[in-house]
């Protein structure tokens, strides 16, 4: 997860539409089926998908009335709260 990327994508959703992100995720997920994909390609695609889902989650919280900064921080807390680190 990369916070600047999530923030940028959240702004993109605000300026455009969430559907662009959802369709891009679907495209990237389909790309992971390419058999000749290298491990590092898979790492990059996985990270991109995570950031896009992160932006969707943040956007959901904003739509529910959470201020943007709190939504971003809240989401990152959720991420860290999901692993034992």
């Amino acid at each position: 997860m990369k916070l600047p990327v999530i923030k940028h994508l959240t702004q993109f959703i605000e300026d455009n539409d969430e559907d662009y992100i959802i369709e891009t995720i679907e495209t990237l997920e389909a790309l992971t089926e390419v058999p000749s994909l290298k491990d590092e390609d898979l790492d990059v695609i996985g990270e991109l998908i995570s950031n896009m889902y992160g932006a969707i989650e943040v956007n959901k919280m904003i739509k529910e009335g959470t201020p943007k900064k709190e939504a971003v921080n809240g989401f990152m807390k959720r991420v860290l709260g999901s692993i034992d680190k």
Partner: protein
């Protein structure tokens, strides 16, 4: 057999089955989504084991049963005991873990 955990009762499932293989994931985790169909494929090939998908965010007690410090984490349990785990988005690595467990 594959099931998605709908309550924090992974320990019961582990106690009730010989071999249990768990994918810890989260809805927003890209690599988890990439691995889910591969995990399901392995489940169809290893019918003797119980495959479980556990939401690491929703079920913290289940998470405590393996060291989940990254997602996706794949953990194996044999005869009620934790056997091993790996964190990967590579099918071959997951397959090796599963083959070793069954």
């Amino acid at each position: 057999m594959i099931q998605e955990l709908d309550q924090d009762n992974l320990q019961d499932i582990i106690n009730g089955n010989d071999t249990v293989i768990v994918q810890y994931s989260a809805t927003w985790c890209g690599n988890c989504r990439i691995m889910k169909p591969k995990f399901k494929k392995l489940a169809t090939e290893h019918t003797g084991a119980t495959f479980v998908i556990a939401d690491a965010e929703k079920f913290p007690e289940s998470r405590k049963l393996a060291t989940v410090d990254n997602l996706p984490t794949f953990a194996t349990f044999k005869n009620g005991e934790f056997k091993g785990q790996t964190q990967t988005n590579k099918f071959d690595v997951l397959k090796e873990l599963v083959d070793d467990a069954v």
